[in-house]
């Protein structure tokens, strides 16, 4: 789709806002609809849109598959780490009250970040895997 000028220009304009919106949904999940899962999917959608219009190679140059693969595990590990730190601070597993006065707030934010990283990485990973399969044909 590299030759479609309108698509290219519109995509270039839209992608920053899509990614920004993903972060808005992520950090605003405590106050409005949304959270890590939706934000991760929106972020991945932005990257997939980039790959669709500018080609898989351009997307992989921007965000290397290795980084994405690491993100798949990193998000879940962050989630688990929050639980373990709560344990070490004397609470139960994933008991955010152990983090002090605003513990619930910080705990939820950290956990949602973990969900965000894993969901976004997995969606991009799945897309990369299928797209590479088609390209190698």
């Amino acid at each position: 789709m590299k030759n479609h000028v309108i698509l290219r220009v519109v995509t270039k304009l839209l992608i920053p806002y899509i990614l920004l919106y993903a972060f808005y949904v992520q950090w605003h999940g405590d106050y409005g609809p949304g959270g890590g899962f939706q934000a991760g999917v929106i972020f991945a959608a932005g990257i997939i849109l980039y790959a669709l219009v500018f080609g898989l190679q351009a997307a992989e140059d921007a965000i290397h598959p290795r980084v994405v693969h690491a993100g798949v595990a990193a998000g879940l590990l962050l989630y688990l780490a929050v639980g373990v730190v709560a344990l070490l601070l004397g609470g139960n597993f994933l008991d955010y009250d152990a983090f002090g006065h605003h513990g619930q707030h910080h705990g939820i934010l950290l956990v949602e970040t973990g969900v965000f990283i894993t969901v976004a990485s997995v969606m991009v990973t799945i897309f990369y895997s299928f797209a590479e399969l088609v390209r190698s044909d």
């Binding site: 609809p33 939706q38 969900v115 894993t118 990973t125 799945i126 590479e132 088609v134």
Partner: protein
């Protein structure tokens, strides 16, 4: 009120129409696009039922990502469904399963019933308490102790987030692990073909032995 009901009826009718069309189509490309439309209509329906979090997820995942992933899959496997022999047994199974599901809904409270357990539960009360101004809430809902609700809401305005990430944090961790496993499965089965580095000794010659040229 009538207008609201009309929107509901139209949305549900469109959902049913899309579902029937999907079931009758044999072209998988059209099916993928229609399932995206189905998800978008579903998201509208959920928003209509005042469930913005679920609608959000449905629109982002159902209408967005999964349509893309289905299309990516179709690029690999082709866009035409294999013709299968339609068996009357399958119809019977579908009818029985559908009947059981409908029978299950008979036990549920009537739609919009104010005395339904979902509306009386502490979670819903806390949700309404967080959503409305607390002072206003005290006047309209004097039955619950405001302090109790405040304690329950743990200071996060969106109760859905509180329930998902805090009260049921263990549950959400499992869900994250499920997504992790899905990604892992795809990577193990399909991914990294381009990045794999085979040593010459590891490559396997798949030509039959009698067709191989003499070394």
């Amino acid at each position: 009120m009538i207008g609201e009901q009309l929107i509901g009826v139209i949305l549900l009718a469109l959902l049913a129409l899309t579902a029937i069309t999907i079931a009758r189509l044999r072209n998988l490309l059209a099916t993928a696009m229609l399932s995206g439309i189905f998800s978008l209509l579903g998201a509208c329906w959920m928003l209509f039922l005042d469930a913005p979090d679920v609608a959000f997820t449905e629109a982002a995942v159902g209408a967005g990502i999964s349509t893309i992933l289905i299309l990516a899959t179709l690029c690999v496997v082709g866009a035409d469904e294999k013709q299968v022999q339609e068996s009357p047994l399958a119809l019977l199974v579908v009818l029985v399963a559908g009947g059981v599901l409908v029978y299950g809904t008979l036990d549920m409270p009537r739609f919009g019933d104010p005395n339904a357990p979902a509306h009386q539960s502490l979670v819903t009360q806390a949700y309404l308490y967080s959503a409305n101004a607390p002072a206003e809430h005290r006047e309209t809902q004097p039955s619950r102790d405001a302090h109790e609700l405040e304690t329950f809401a743990v200071g996060i305005p969106n109760t859905v987030t509180t329930v998902l990430a805090s009260f049921r944090g263990y549950d959400t961790m499992g869900e994250t692990a499920v997504i992790f496993t899905a990604g892992l499965g795809v990577v193990v089965i399909l991914g990294g073909a381009r990045h794999r580095r085979f040593e010459p000794s590891e490559t396997v010659d798949i030509t039959p032995s009698d067709e191989r040229p003499e070394a």
